[in-house]
Amino acid sequence: MYYLIMCRSLTYAQRIANALESAGVGARILRSPAEISPSGCSYSVRLSPRSLTKAMTVLKHTRLPYLGIYVGSAAEHWREVSP
């Protein structure tokens, strides 16, 4: 299981991933799963469950926008969570 921060563009996903990496939070950009991307191609930043709290602090501080946060895995459905 892991978390996805879904972003509206690759540029935002990169900026969020860079901000997280700078704060010591491991982050990886990937294509959003089709299930949560009804408009087609979008990008998400993948986080491990233990990084979520710190990641939220970073996002609040940097004010970088994102579309939503999802939890799940490749083998199961994704659901949106409210951190």
């Binding site: 563009s9 690759l10 540029t11 900026r15 990937l30 408009s39 087609g40 191609c41």
Partner: protein, 372 residues
């Protein structure tokens, strides 16, 4: 050859520019096409370019930095967004065809120009104030005249536009890399610039700084919201359809790093010193008229001149035959020549870069002395 045509394109580039481009050709594909190395490297390069440009040009949001093919591309995007049919537009009077030709395609546009003599910024602002009071829907202003090197008082122009709530588009084609540009402080709606002049990037690159959004000129793939048959409503994707010029972006990023490291103010100082040397030599030649600002602070490294009885084109050709590269004619800016009263035959223009030397200016003056 001695190259004195950097207002068109800087020929000498920092070696890092060609290296970065070659590396991009061999190791990068297209951003956002996959989670594999060559695509990720391209994505990182493009973001690094946006972040560096945002830092250099006083912009808090790198995603609002749009990669264009040149300044003309950016100006077309901006003009065709800002100016609606029937709008009233105020121009500086020193604009390039890259502004006036797109405007001419918009039905019913009423264009006025700020009227003031060359190198008279105070008079410029007085007439601008008058015309802003009379009402306008937008102001378009070059930061520096590509013909005369005249620096328009953009800080003051931007303040007046903000106070009057009038949209502002700044053409930074000749200023990017030598003069301070602060998109956020200006509150401009758009700032357009080429990559291949004072930013020392390759031809085929440019940047458009966008405050809010713009109408696309091209529609196509963006790697985002692919199911929608409209362009994404967010930047930069909205304005960047199709595969990016990644080698160009890599080269431009190297150019920006060179400008940052050298310092725009140091480059400006160098170019002004060369301009002063060239102007001082030219005025001593018989029959030569030099368009030089009394206040050196009003002019950067672009200098126009004419020689009595000599066609500017023929004079430029004669210089080319003697190993000196200059530009002549109307410089794609008939409005600027009309404002200065040089619209008949135009002028000969010399323009400098960080790589020119005093020795080169002296050789140019020697050749000129043999021709007039």
């Amino acid at each position: 050859m001695i190259y004195l045509d950097s207002a068109a394109t800087t020929l000498q580039k920092p070696p890092a520019v060609a290296r970065a481009m070659a590396e991009a050709v061999g190791t990068m594909t297209s951003p956002g096409r996959g989670n594999y190395g060559p695509s990720s490297r391209a994505s990182r390069t493009l973001l690094a370019l946006r972040e560096k440009a945002a830092e250099l040009f006083g912009m808090s949001r790198p995603e609002q930095v749009v990669l264009t093919h040149n300044a003309t591309h950016g100006l077309n995007l901006a003009v065709k967004t800002m100016v609606r049919p029937g709008a009233r537009v105020l121009l500086s009077g020193w604009e390039h065809n890259a502004v006036t030709r797109p405007l001419a395609t918009i039905p019913g546009v009423r264009v006025r120009t700020v009227e003031a003599p060359l190198f008279r910024p105070k008079q410029f602002l007085e007439d601008l104030d008058r015309k802003l009071r009379e009402g306008t829907d937008g102001v378009i202003c070059t930061h520096v005249s590509n013909v005369f090197g005249y620096i328009l008082p953009v800080d003051e122009i931007a303040a007046r536009c903000r106070a009057a709530s009038v949209p502002l588009l700044v053409d930074a084609s000749q200023s990017a890399g030598v003069l301070p540009i602060s998109m956020d402080d200006w509150g401009a709606d758009f700032v357009a610039m080429p990559g291949h002049k004072g930013l020392y990037g390759p031809q085929g690159t440019g940047l458009l700084l966008v405050r809010d959004t713009a109408l696309p000129l091209l529609e196509g793939g963006t790697g985002s919201q692919s199911r929608l048959q409209t362009m994404p409503d967010f930047l930069p994707d909205r304005l960047e359809a199709g595969t990016h010029n990644i080698p160009g972006a890599a080269g431009l990023l190297a150019g920006l790093r060179f400008v940052e490291k050298t310092g725009p103010s140091a480059i400006l100082r160098h170019e002004r010193a060369l301009l002063a040397r060239a102007a001082a030599g030219l005025v001593r030649l018989p029959g030569v008229t030099v368009y030089r600002a009394e206040d050196p602070g009003c002019q950067c490294g672009v200098l126009s001149f004419r020689a009595k009885g000599r066609d500017p084109g023929a004079l430029a050709d004669a210089l080319a035959d003697r190993g000196i590269a200059v530009r002549s004619g109307l410089h794609c800016a008939p409005l600027a020549h009309a404002s200065a009263g040089t619209e008949g035959e135009g002028t000969v223009r010399v323009s400098f870069s960080a790589f020119n030397t005093a020795w080169e200016v002296d050789r140019f003056l020697e050749r000129m002395a043999g021709l007039v």
